[in-house]
Symmetry: C2
Subunit: 746 residues, 2 copies
C-alpha cells in the first residue's frame, strides 16, 4: 500500500495505456471483418477519401493557428513568475492529441461503416457488434490519449517545478506546474472548437443541401446514389459527428480534470501522496472510469433479431457508471485525509477562520459531490430524452402544429426548445447548490469529473450512431435488400436517441466544468469578488451574454450559405449531366465534397476567433473582475442557447420521423409526402444546424473562454495589482485636491 | 424664484394636467371629424365592440388579481417599519390608471380609424392629421395620467411621512414615502404585463389565423370582408398595439421615474427644494418632456400628396427631443447643488471616504448622463432600423434565402435576429459604463429618465401606426377606391418603420431602468455585494437567465394554439356557411372575436404569474443576494431575447413586404405568389408572435421583476439581518464543537 501511495502518480498514464492496448485489439478485429462487394467498397472509399480531404484541409489551417498561438504563449510565459514558456509545448501537444483523437475515431468509423453494412446482411446482432466495436475503439482512443497525455505531462511538470525545487504543493510551485499544464487543455479545447464548428458546418451544409434538392425537389429518397450531394452528406457524418465529437469530448474530458486539479492545489491535505491527493483524484477517477468502460462495453450485445438494442446499450452504460461510482467511494476513502478540508484562499489571512460564504468539507462530502454530479448527468439525459423522443408530449405538439402549415410547425418547435430549458436549468442550479454544499468549489469541479469519468463508454455509444447511419447510407446507395437497410435503420434510430441524451449529458458537464474553471480563474487572478452590482462588471455580463448569440448566428448562417451553394450545385448537375436520374451517369460527388470542405474551413474561423480573443481583450482592457462578469454571462447564456437549440432540433427531427410510421392528427392519419409531413421537413431542416452545428458548439465555447481566461489569469493578476496601486495613489492625490473634481468632470 | 423653489413639487401634477387638457381638445377635434358611410360605420362598430368586449373580459380577471395582491400588500405593509399598508392604495391607483390609460388610447383609436379612412378620401395630409392626432391623444393621455398620478401621490406621501414628521429626506422617512410610492409603479407595471401579453396573444392569434386560411388557403387579400377572422384581426391591432402598448409605456414611464427617485433619495443635496432636488428631478424632466411633446406634435404635418410622412414625423420627434435636452440643461443647473454628490451608502461608515468602486459626481455629470441616455436611445433606434428595414443587408439576406425554400428563410431570419443583438448590447454596455462614469448609479437611472422624457411624442408616433393600419382595413372591407387604400397604405408603411425603431428605444430604456431598479433594490435590501462567484448567486443567475425563455415559450405557444383554433373556425365557416365567398352571407365575425378573447385571457395568466411570483419565492427562500443574481440573469437574458425576437420578426415582416414591389434574386424578379414569396410568408408568420407578443413583453418582464424585488426588499432586509444573526450564533457554536463537523457532513 505504501508503494502504491508513492507510485500512484506514475500509475495514471498506465490506465490510459491499458485503454489504448484494448483499443488496438478491437481495432484489429474490426479491420478483419468482411467489407462486402466492389460497389460497397467503392462508395466507402469515396466517403473515406472525402473525410480525409476535409481533415487535411482543416489541419493545414489549424497548424498556422497552433504555430502563432504557440509563439504568443511562449512569449507570454516569460513575462510572469507563475508561468513558463514551456506552456507552449504543452499547448502544442494538447492540440496535436486532440486532432489525433478525432483522426483515430474517423479512421475507424470509415472502416466500420461498410463492415457494418456487410454484417447487417447476416444479423442485427452482428451489425451491432461491428458498429459498437467501432464506437468503442473511438471511445477508448479518446479517453486513453487524454489520460496518457495529461497524466504524463503532469508527472513531468510536477517533477520539474515542484519535486525538484522542493516547492510548496499548495503554493506557487504547484500553481506554476498547473498553469503550464493548462496549456495542454487550451490546445485541446481550441482544436475541439474548430473541429466541432468546422465539422458541424460541413455535415449540415451537405445534409440540408442534399435534402432540399434530392428529397424535396427531385423526389428521390435519402442516401440515393443519384444525388450528387450524398457522398458529402455521408462524409459529413464522419467529420462532424465522429471527428468533431471526438475532439470535443477529448477537450471536455481534459478540461474537467484540469479544473479540478487547479482547485485541488488549494486544498491542504498533508496525509498522503505528498499532499497532492486532491490534485491526483480527478485523474485516478478518470482512469477507473476508463477501465470500467471497457467492462461495460463488453456487456453490450444482443442475441436475437428482436432483442432491444437500446436495452443492450443501457446495460453497458449503467454497469460502467455504477461500477465507477462504487470504486470511487473506496478511492476517496483511501486517498483523501480524515480531516476537514477547504480552499486555502477561503481562510481570512492571519486567522484560522473561513471567510463568509466559504465552506469546509470532508472526504464523504467529496463523494457526495460526485454522486450529485452523476444524478445531475442522469436527470439531464432523462429530461433531454423526454423533450426529443417520439410519442412524448413535446414532439406530439409539434406534429399537431404541422397540420396547420410550415409556420406553426416552426413556432411549435421554437416553443418546445425554449420550454425545454426550464427543467435542465433547475437541475443544474440544484446541482451547483448541492455539490457546493458537500465540498465547496472543489465539489462543483469533482461533480463534473464524476460525470465525465465514463467518457469512453459515453463516446462509444455516441459514435456508434453515425457509424450505423453511414452503414445505412452505403446499403441504400448499393441498393441492398430491404432487410439489410431495416437492420441498419434499427441501429440508426437508437443512435438518434443516444445522440440526444448524450447532448444533455454534455451540456451539464460543460456547465459544471465551466463553473469549476471560473472558480479556478478567480483563484489564480487573485480577485475577491465578482460583484455584478458594479456597473462595469454588469456591462461585462451583458457582453458575455451576447457572445453565444453572435456565435450561433455565425454558425447557422454559415450553414445556410453553404447549403445554398450546395443546392445550386446539385441543381446544376441534375440539369447539365444527362442520365443521372436513370443511373446511367455518375454524379460529380467530389464537387459537392469540395463545396462543403471549403465552406466549413472558411466559416469556422470567425466564431473560433471570437471565442479565443474576446476574453483576452476584455481581461487586459478592463481587468479580471469584468472578465469574470463576461464569463458568467457567456456561461449562462451559452448553456441556455445550447439546450434550446439542441432540443428544438432534436424535437423537430423526431416530429418528422414520426410521419414515417404515420401519425394521427384530429382523427386523420398522415404519412410521408402529406402536407403536414412537408411542414415537418421544414422544421427538421431548420433544426439541423441548431442541433448539430451551433447547439453542441456552445459547450466548447463556454469551456474554451474559461480556459483562455484561466491561462491569462496570472498576467491579469499582476496587471490588476498595478492598477490597484495606481488607484491608491490617485486617491491620495484626490484627497488633497478634492475641490478640483467639480470642474474636472464634464 | 424662491416661490418656485418652494412650490415646484406642486407644479409637477400641473404639467400632467396641461397634457390632459390638450388631450381633451384634440380628442374633441377627432370626434368632430366625418365618419363616412353606413357600411364603414358598421365595420368600425364591430371593431370597437370587439375591442371593448376584450377589455371588459380582461378587466374582470385583473380585478381579482388587483384585489388579492392589494390585500397581500396591505398585510405585508404592516410587517416592517419602512413600509405601510397604504402601499395597497398606491398599488390599486397605479393599476387603475394603467388600465385607464390603455382604455383611453383604445377608445380614441377606434374612433380615429374610420375617420382616417374617411379623411383619406380627401388627401394624404388630412389622413395623416386625423390618425396622428388620434395617436397624440393617446400619448398625452398616458403621459399626463402618469405624471398626475405619480406627482400627486408623491406630494401626499412626502407630506405624510417626511414633512409632517420632520423626517430625514435622505433617511428612513423618505425611504418609507418612496416604498409606498413603489406600489403605484408595481400596480402600473403588473397591469402592463397582463395587457401586453394578453393583447399580444389576441392580436397575433387573429392575425396568424386570418392569414393562414384567408391569404394562403382561400387566396383572398388581407382585410377582406369575407374572411371571418378579419374583424378579430382589426380588433387585435387595437387591443394589442394600442391598449397593450399604452399600458406598457405607462408602466415604463412610471418605473423609470420611480427608480431614479429611489436612488435620488440617497443623494445628499442640502441647497434647494428641502434637499429633495434629486428626487424631484426625474418628474420635472418628464413634465418638460410632455410640454415639448405637445410642441413637437404640432409640427407633424404635410402639405402635398408627395410629401414624406416619415420626414414629418422625424421633424416633430427631433424637435421635442432637442428642446427637452436644452431645457434639461438649464433645469439641472438650476435644481442641483454646486457641490460634489454621491450616494450616501457609498461612504465608508465613520469616514468621509468613498468605498472602492463608488463614484462622486457633479451636476454637469448628471447632464452628461442624460445625454448618454439620449445617444443610447438614438443609436438603438438606428441599429434596429438597419436590421429590420427593407433594402438593407439583413432583410436582403433573408430574401435571398427565401429562394431555396421555407427552411432557409427561417434559418436566415433566426440568424439575423441573433446577429442583431451584437451592436445594441455593445451600445448598451457602453451606455451603462458612460452614464455610470458621469454620475454613478444615479446617472444610469437619470439616463433612462432622459430617454423616456418625450414618451408622449414617442407614443403618438407609435400609436398612429395601428390607427392607419385599421383605417386601411376598413377601406379594404368597405371596398373603397384604390386611391384611398393607397393613402392608408402609405401611412401604414411608415407606421411599420416607427414600430420597429420604437421597439429599439423601448428595450434600451427598459434595460437602463431595470439596472436603476436593480441598484435601488440593492440599496433598500441593504446588501453590499452581489457576488456571482458564490455558488448560490450563480445558481440564481442561471435560473434568472432561464425565465425569459419559459416566458417566451408560453407566449408563442399560446399564439400557436389560439391561431390553430382560429384556423379551424375559419375553415369551418367557409365550409358550413354557403355564400360567404360571393359576398352573399355575412361571416360570423363574433365567433372569431370570442376565440381570440377567451384564448388571450386564459393564456396571459401563467406568464404573468411567473414574473410576479418568482422573485418573491427566490427572495424569501434564498435571500436578497441570490435574488440579485436572479434579477441580473433575467435582465441580461431578457434584453437579449427581446432584441433577438423583435428584430427577427421585424426583418421577416419586411422581407415578405419586399415581394410586393418585386425583388431580384440571382437575376430573376419574384413577386407575390411566387415560391420565394410563399417562403417569406412562413417567416413572417413565425415572426408575428416573436415581434408582437413575446419580444416586447421582455421589457415589461425585466422591469416588473425588478419592481417586485424592490417592493419586497425591506422585508428581505430584515429577514436577512435575522439570518446573519443566526449565522453568527452558529459560528460561535461551531468554534466550540469544531470536531463535530467531520461526522455531520454526509
Amino acid at each position: 500500500m505504501d508503494l502504491l501511495n508513492t507510485y500512484l502518480i506514475y500509475l495514471i498514464p498506465v490506465f490510459g495505456l491499458v485503454g489504448i492496448i484494448v483499443m488496438a485489439i478491437k481495432s484489429a478485429w474490426v479491420t478483419k471483418q468482411e467489407t462486402g462487394d466492389a460497389s460497397m467498397n467503392q462508395l466507402a472509399g469515396y466517403i473515406a477519401d472525402g473525410a480525409m480531404a476535409f481533415l487535411r484541409a482543416e489541419w493545414k489551417v489549424l497548424s498556422y493557428f497552433v504555430i502563432i498561438a504557440g509563439i504568443l504563449l511562449a512569449w507570454s510565459g516569460t513575462t510572469v513568475a507563475t508561468s513558463s514558456p514551456v506552456i507552449a509545448i504543452s499547448f502544442v501537444i494538447g492540440a496535436f492529441l486532440s486532432a489525433f483523437a478525432g483522426y483515430l475515431g474517423m479512421r475507424i468509423a470509415t472502416k466500420s461503416n461498410v463492415r457494418t453494412t456487410q454484417a447487417a446482411k447476416t444479423s442485427l446482432a452482428q451489425a451491432l457488434k461491428v458498429s459498437f466495436t467501432g464506437g468503442t475503439v473511438m471511445g477508448l482512443g479518446v479517453a486513453g490519449l487524454a489520460i496518457i497525455g495529461l497524466g504524463s505531462l503532469f508527472i513531468v511538470f510536477y517533477t520539474m517545478y515542484v519535486k525538484n525545487t522542493g516547492g510548496d504543493v499548495n503554493g506557487e510551485a504547484m500553481a506554476k506546474a498547473l498553469d503550464v499544464l493548462a496549456g495542454f487543455s487550451l490546445g485541446a479545447e481550441s482544436i475541439a472548437l474548430f473541429a466541432r464548428v468546422g465539422g458541424g458546418i460541413y455535415t449540415k451544409a451537405a445534409d440540408v443541401g442534399a435534402d432540399l434538392v434530392g428529397k424535396v425537389e427531385a423526389g428521390i429518397p435519402e442516401d440515393d446514389v443519384r444525388n450528387p450531394a450524398t457522398i458529402a452528406d455521408n462524409v459529413g457524418d464522419n467529420v462532424g459527428d465522429v471527428a468533431g465529437m471526438g475532439a470535443d469530448l477529448f477537450g471536455s474530458y481534459v478540461a474537467t480534470m484540469l479544473a479540478t486539479m487547479v482547485l485541488g492545489r488549494e486544498i491542504v491535505s498533508h496525509d498522503n501522496f505528498g499532499g497532492i491527493a486532491p490534485v491526483l483524484l480527478p485523474m485516478v477517477i478518470a482512469g477507473l472510469g476508463l477501465i470500467f468502460s471497457i467492462v461495460g462495453a463488453s456487456l453490450v450485445r444482443i442475441k436475437k433479431e428482436t432483442d432491444s438494442v437500446q436495452n443492450a446499450l443501457n446495460i453497458g452504460n449503467w454497469a460502467s457508471i455504477l461500477l465507477t461510482a462504487v470504486a470511487t467511494y473506496f478511492l476517496v476513502q483511501w486517498m483523501l485525509p480524515n480531516t476537514v478540508m477547504h480552499l486555502t484562499r477561503d481562510v481570512i489571512p492571519g486567522t484560522t477562520d473561513l471567510k463568509p460564504g466559504s465552506l469546509e468539507f470532508t472526504k464523504n462530502g467529496v463523494f457526495g459531490s460526485i454522486l450529485v454530479g452523476l444524478v445531475v448527468g442522469t436527470l439531464m439525459s432523462i429530461i433531454t430524452e423526454y423533450y426529443t423522443a417520439m410519442g412524448k408530449r413535446p414532439v406530439m405538439s409539434i406534429i399537431r402544429q404541422s397540420a396547420t402549415g410550415h409556420a406553426t410547425n416552426i413556432i411549435g418547435g421554437l416553443a418546445v426548445g425554449m420550454e425545454s430549458t426550464v427543467l435542465p436549468i433547475l437541475v443544474l442550479a440544484a446541482g451547483i447548490y448541492g455539490s457546493y454544499f458537500f465540498a465547496g468549489l472543489y465539489g462543483v469541479a469533482i461533480a463534473a469529473a464524476g460525470m465525465m469519468a465514463t467518457t469512453a463508454m459515453q463516446l462509444a455509444i455516441d459514435a456508434f450512431g453515425p457509424i450505423a447511419d453511414n452503414a445505412g447510407g452505403i446499403a441504400e446507395m448499393s441498393r441492398l435488400p430491404e432487410e439489410v437497410r431495416g437492420r441498419t435503420d434499427n441501429l440508426d434510430a437508437v443512435g438518434n436517441t443516444t445522440a440526444a441524451t448524450g447532448k444533455g449529458f454534455a451540456i451539464a458537464s460543460a456547465a459544471l466544468t465551466s463553473l469549476a474553471l471560473f472558480a479556478a480563474f478567480v483563484g489564480v487572478a487573485g480577485i475577491e469578488h465578482i460583484d455584478i452590482y458594479k456597473a462595469n462588471v454588469l456591462a461585462g455580463l451583458f457582453v458575455g451574454g451576447m457572445i453565444p448569440f453572435i456565435f450561433s448566428a455565425l454558425c447557422i448562417s454559415a450553414v445556410g450559405r453553404a447549403a445554398m451553394a450546395m443546392v445550386e450545385e446539385v441543381r446544376r448537375q441534375f440539369r447539365e449531366i444527362p442520365g443521372i436520374m436513370e443511373y446511367k451517369a455518375r454524379p460529380e460527388y467530389e464537387k459537392c465534397v469540395e463545396i462543403s470542405t471549403k465552406a466549413s474551413i472558411r466559416e469556422m474561423v470567425a466564431p473560433g476567433l471570437i471565442a479565443l480573443i474576446t476574453p483576452i481583450i476584455i481581461g487586459f482592457a478592463f481587468g479580471p473582475e469584468v472578465l469574470g462578469g463576461l464569463l458568467a454571462g457567456v456561461t449562462v447564456s451559452g448553456v441556455l442557447m445550447g439546450i434550446f437549440q439542441s432540443n428544438a432540433g432534436g424535437a423537430w427531427d423526431n416530429a418528422k420521423k414520426s410521419f414515417e410510421k404515420g401519425v394521427e392528427i384530429n382523427g386523420e392519419i398522415y404519412y410521408k409526402k402529406s402536407e403536414p409531413h412537408k411542414a415537418s421537413v421544414t422544421g427538421d431542416t431548420v433544426g439541423d444546424p441548431f442541433k448539430d452545428t451551433s447547439g453542441p458548439s456552445m459547450n466548447i465555447l463556454i469551456k474554451l473562454m474559461s480556459i483562455v481566461s484561466l491561462v491569462i489569469a496570472p498576467h491579469l493578476n499582476s496587471a490588476d495589482n498595478t492598477n490597484k496601486m495606481m488607484q491608491k495613489q490617485e486617491k491620495v492625490q484626490s484627497m488633497n485636491v478634492h475641490q478640483i473634481h467639480v470642474d474636472k468632470k464634464i
